[in-house]
Amino acid sequence: MKKILNKPADFVPEMLDGLCKAYPNQLTYAEDIHCIVRADSPVKNKVALATGGGSGHLPVFLGYVGKGMLDGCAVGDVFQSPSAEQMLSVTKRIHGGKGVVYIYGNYGGDVMNFDMAAEMADMEDIKVKTVLVKDDVASAPPAEAGRRRGVAGMVFAFKVAGAKADLGGSLDEVVAVTEKALANTRTMGVALSPCTVPMAGKPTFTIGEDEMEIGMGIHGEPGMKREKLQTADQIAERMTTAILDDLKPSAGDELAVMVNGLGATPPEELYVIYRKVNQILTDKKLRVHRAYVGEFATSMEMAGASLTFMKLDAELKTLVDYPANTPFFKQV
């Protein structure tokens, strides 16, 4: 896969520089330490929300920094966790007096570093709580759901938490509703082609021209199984079934649905998938409260898609519908 690059080692800082130059009124970039925070940080008397993780997943993570969603993000190298020092720096920059919630994906490096940052923040009298995103049903069976990795479902967590915080929720309230959102969120994905980490210079994995990987992670972690490429309808059904078997909604339930492109897959194909997902849900008397179709959590130029459902109650519906305005996510 060809890339538009300068020196691979400069990829992340150059990307961050360009991004913050594109949205100078919305984002501030702390260059020395690769942190992105809202330009109006710290927002006083609001619970602050921080995330962090490796680069290469835009809009995840930093694309969701903005009004109605996150306050700040620690940016790692491509597919690499940021350091505890970066996370602490974000924490201090965004803290508005009501505490900070860390919301991020369940990856070893990230967890350890966020934990270290939380310990350091605690020493500076900033109250930090953590909500881990573990939505990928393909990464572990239900009995070991605690081991699951965090993928596109984190966007729903950002959305719900951001709305609750903007509405004046307390630290505990924001944590509680985000945990509720995630308890009701599941994701499943398929990959058709790999991506290339600039520093590595070669694809993260190889896959046959007629194959797909069911349940692949967003860094190219192998999934549940490799199979012959199926039709859009079969893939949609596959993902829908895997999620419903795990989430077990009841007829009449309302869902937020996200069909997410991993990078190279065009939106047209995502809508073909959505069509079938919508059909299956309608057949099962599940109602789509809101649909999100597009690129929300990517792996650079990987081809493939993921599907996320979040089961909604009245509170989650209000928070999902709440407006947001970030460089990558706008809801009116």
Binding site: A84, G108, M112, N113, A200, T204, G217
Partner: protein, 209 residues
């Protein structure tokens, strides 16, 4: 008769370990590619480079502080799982010799033990989960036992190295239970654990062959 070691020994050990990580970059990457995200060589190489820079011309007086800062540098250079665990290990080892300008064999054993405990606390894995713990734990026990029984640090170190290698090899047939490799489930059985191998690379460079 108790040996003592000065700052130059410590710096030398760090530098040998750093160089070994750089030299084994491709090897570690290939192991991590088989069951993880294939970054282990890159991240360990970055840690090695950072520590070579950090130790170059260093003339530390407080060896504890020196090691703790080395940990911070390692974390900054590569905040990956192994990078962070290695950073934690350095910081915890540093705490054991806080304020000291030289250290004894017993200190060395205490440092390895603190490193092990730190990694366990930070990563929350159990023995047998097939992580770096399964190499560092037998090394820790062997080093402490060796020093306690009067062996020189080098002799005890060689025994500990052998214990680390045995530990590493003993888990190869198991399934990885935590971290990225755990998502591969059964497919990890029979594959060597990258983190265990990284520890052996580091420890062998410190102890010598």
């Amino acid at each position: 008769m108790s040996e003592t070691f000065n700052s130059q020994s410590l710096i030398g050990a760090i530098q040998r370990a750093s160089q070994a990580l750089i030299d084994n970059s491709e090897f570690l990457t290939s192991l991590d590619q088989a069951m993880g995200d294939g970054d282990l060589g890159i991240t360990m190489g970055k840690v090695g480079e950072a520590l070579l820079v950090y130790t170059k011309n260093a003339q530390p007086t407080d060896l504890g502080k020196f090691l703790m800062s080395a940990g911070m540098e390692a974390n900054k250079a590569a905040p990956s799982t192994m990078g962070t665990l290695l950073a934690t290990a350095l910081m915890r080892a540093g705490k054991e010799i806080a304020g000291k300008t030289e250290f004894s064999s017993a200190d060395a054993a205490a440092m390895l033990h603190a490193a092990f405990t730190g990694i366990q606390e930070r990563g929350k894995a159990n023995l047998g989960d097939k992580t770096v713990l399964d190499a560092i734990h037998p090394a820790d026990e062997a080093l402490s036992a060796g020093i306690a029984s009067g062996l020189s640090l080098r002799e005890a170190g060689l025994k500990a190295l052998q214990a680390a290698k045995n530990g590493r090899d003993s888990v190869t047939s198991l399934q990885n239970k935590v971290g990225r490799a755990s998502w591969l489930g059964e497919r990890t059985k029979g594959l060597p654990d990258p983190g265990c191998n990284a520890f052996v690379v580091v420890f062998e460079a410190i102890v010598g062959k």
